[in-house]
Symmetry: C2
């Protein structure tokens, strides 16, 4: 698959894909012409990359996870561990959000406890 098609299928720009390649997030072969040639599985992988990214993982982290996965003796196990770790991260993040939500919710409708926030505004 050429880069243009991959871009179309993932919604990424060709430049972004080349950027990802430079940073070790994707690897493709090369055709005799020098054109990049991507495997079909690259599509779900890139979709996954975007998901992980919106989750707050940096590209470097995602690349590192990918590497760990590739180098693992037992891939299935490594992946399970990775996913489990991500789930922990998600849980932690959700807990933070829940705490913040509670804090905000407690202030909504009260005319007073917001002083700490409002009295100072820019």
């Amino acid at each position: 698959m050429l880069i243009g098609e991959l871009a179309a299928r993932t919604g990424l720009s060709r430049d972004a894909i080349r950027f990802y390649e430079r940073n070790g997030l994707v690897t493709g072969g090369r055709l005799p012409s020098g054109y990049r040639d991507f495997a079909p599985e690259t599509v779900p992988w890139l979709l996954y990359v975007r998901t992980a990214q919106t989750l707050g993982f940096s590209l470097a982290e995602i690349a590192r996870h990918g590497d760990e996965l590739r180098d693992a003796p037992d891939q299935a196990e490594a992946l399970s561990a990775l996913l489990a770790e991500k789930i922990r991260v998600i849980d932690a993040r959700m807990a933070e959000l829940a705490a913040l939500r509670a804090e905000l919710a407690a202030r909504v409708g009260t005319g007073c406890p917001l002083r700490a926030v409002e009295a100072v505004s820019p």
Copy 2:
């Protein structure tokens, strides 16, 4: 309060605070010496800024919210609306995370359904 003390109390660097000031996130008076002079309420405000930031709001958004708040005819109401909006954002974010968590959880322990993710790694 001088900038150094504010920095110490908020955990921010003096440079970061000056950067925030340039970008309209904080305002302080000036002493005759030219030194910035911050009100005590700036401390909770900056702590709030950091919280909002970890929530995924950009400094520009936070500044804009602060402005809206300041300009609102009814501050208490404006703040309630703002908090309510943030809560919606949080809820959306949590829902995304929950969906992703479910997706990941479904794959953990299975040796097969992870192909889509694993077969492709960098």
